[in-house]
């Protein structure tokens, strides 16, 4: 059994193996992650809106031992991760982290938000440091404004935005 604590390191090997086979296979897998997460969260977020997303990430912050802040201010849900446990584990790993590790996050968040009628902007800030900011809003224009100010916006389904393997 791969311990649930170590899923992230297994996941990281999956990303590497798929990317070695071809970038298209990695992106296809991200689509699958999105599909699975839409099944799990899509209707919950669609019905419950930002409040449901806030509750979900509050629980995740606790269960996954995240270090950061999560705030719901009016029409904006902001997750500020000071130490992402996921990338931290992928990096604290004798096998090393996959170069696009962070991108898988937006790869599942984007389809969930699209299903729920919400807009997420994920600023990775860096692909090699475990901190980031994600903002979710109902207002598309507000999201576009957030994206303009992002240091390293995550757009996993735009191939040109991804560094080569």
């Amino acid at each position: 059994m791969i311990p649930s604590d170590h899923f992230v390191r297994f996941y990281n090997e999956v990303f590497k193996s798929l990317d070695r086979k071809g970038r298209v296979h990695l992106v296809d897998y991200w689509h699958e992650l999105g599909r699975l997460q839409v099944t799990e969260l899509g209707d919950r977020f669609k019905t419950g809106g930002l409040e449901a997303a806030y509750e979900y990430w509050q629980r995740i912050f606790l269960e996954e031992n995240c270090e950061g802040e999560i705030k719901l201010n009016g029409d904006v849900l902001e997750l500020r991760m000071h130490k992402c446990p996921s990338l931290s584990k992928a990096m604290d790993n004798d096998s090393g982290a996959h170069g696009l590790y962070c991108d898988h996050c937006m790869a599942w968040v984007e389809p969930v938000m699209a299903h729920a009628g919400l807009h997420a902007v994920f600023d990775m800030e860096s692909r090699t440091e475990p901190h980031c900011v994600m903002r979710v809003t109902r207002d598309k224009k507000k999201a576009e404004e957030f994206a303009k100010h992002a240091k390293l916006p995550s757009t996993p389904y735009i191939p040109a935005s991804l560094p080569p393997r």
Partner: protein, 150 residues
């Protein structure tokens, strides 16, 4: 715990990662085949858990036994260890992963246990040990480390 572990997580346990592992195994098996899936498990065993594999190559199985023990206890699984002669049997009576999936009504992928079987095979490569996995029930299996070379 006498043998130090390379990875020794503490804090909350997010058991839902077993759902994601199950989904990932199903996807890779269907889309890329069993050989590809095994290759990922082999990399996980030998690269991620390099420290365990290095110890095994040196003839020391204790980090692997401690790893199984620590994480099975952490996830509240039920197990016992039997040592006799050149064999160590880690007997899982209640696997936390399959139990979690079934309790949530999630269909366990037919190749879900391949993670355990293939990783044990990969850990034994180039070592004086044979590490086998025998599925003994819906949530039960036995992992046996047998020294086959001095």
């Amino acid at each position: 715990m006498s043998t130090p572990l390379r990875y020794q997580d503490t804090g909350e346990v997010h058991l839902d990662f077993h759902r994601t592992t199950n989904g990932t195994i199903a996807y890779l098996r269907q889309k890329h085949g069993a050989e590809f899936l095994d290759d990922v498990f082999r990399h996980t065993a030998q690269d991620v858990y390099r420290s365990i594999w290095d110890d095994l190559k040196q003839g020391d199985p204790e980090q692997l036994v401690t790893h199984w023990t620590y994480f099975t206890e952490r996830e509240k699984g039920v197990y016992k260890i039997e040592r006799e002669g050149n064999e160590i049997c880690f007997i899982v009576l209640q696997c936390p992963a399959t139990t979690y999936l079934r309790n949530r009504g999630i269909v366990v992928d037919p190749e879900f246990r391949r993670q355990t079987i293939t990783m044990n095979q990969a850990w034994s490569e180039g070592t004086p040990f044979e590490i086998s996995t025998k599925i003994t029930g819906e949530d039960a299996y036995v992992q046996t480390i047998r020294r086959v070379k001095l």
